[in-house]
Symmetry: C2
Amino acid sequence: MSTPCHCVQLRKAARKIGAQYDAALAPIGINIAQFSLLRAVERGQPVSLTELGRTLDLDRSTMGRNVRVVEKLGLVRLDRGEDQREAVVSLNEHGVAVLRLAEPLWERCQRQVADQLGPTRLQLLGELSQLF
Amino acid sequence: MSTPCHCVQLRKAARKIGAQYDAALAPIGINIAQFSLLRAVERGQPVSLTELGRTLDLDRSTMGRNVRVVEKLGLVRLDRGEDQREAVVSLNEHGVAVLRLAEPLWERCQRQVADQLGPTRLQLLGELSQLF
DNA sequence: GATCGTTGCGGGCATATACCCCTTATTCAT
DNA sequence: ATGAATAAGGGGTATATGCCCGCAACGATC
């Protein structure tokens, strides 16, 4: 019979786990994609959209849109870089505050997921993301 | 320092693998989500949107939209069920033909991905999707 | 048979994601 | 120095996905 599609399996797992993280972060009004973005901004700030895209391995245009969302939430500032083509992103105070509030929620969820999966399968995730 | 987020890792892997399947299926004009949907329709036809959503573990409204896409591609037929509330989906001839064409492309990609991952990680991936 | 709770869909809204094309800015080779 | 190639963004388009709300149909109960 038909083997399950590896891709479909992976997407399903990603959806389910994503929903867990989203629920964990919901109390402060951000989701896991936004949390991940804010962390990347904090690590690199001020950082261009292209650079962010490289870091998070997302399309440049996707970055532009995702950044616009957190900008609308009032969490980041967008400026022009020295290179006049670049749009550089940094956290504003609100963004920093939200990130600090989010971190413990994220950590708790991260631990729960780790428990759900167990060490072997958890290691798989790291290996998978390395492979690509 | 900051541990990588399990969710972000998973999403990244899913994006990357998804892109491989999408590229493999591109010659016949469908993507992996649509392929997966067409297979589910064939297995269950005629099948209601709610039932499909349960099978694929997707939100009902998502199913409605995804089905509309393959309908626009001319691959499925939508009818009313006996229960007048139900919209039931079946493949039309074109849908069957496309599915038959897609299968070998999908299988090749599936094998390539399996090789990339190796048996151990592949097994873990199966376990992972079972967890949900 | 009228009513009420349940179920199935569709539409609205929002986000994440990718691709393509266009404009503008920078860089590089001649 | 100048013209070509390249890089950064922005906007358009499209799909996948989820939540919420409202409408319509169904079924059980009175």
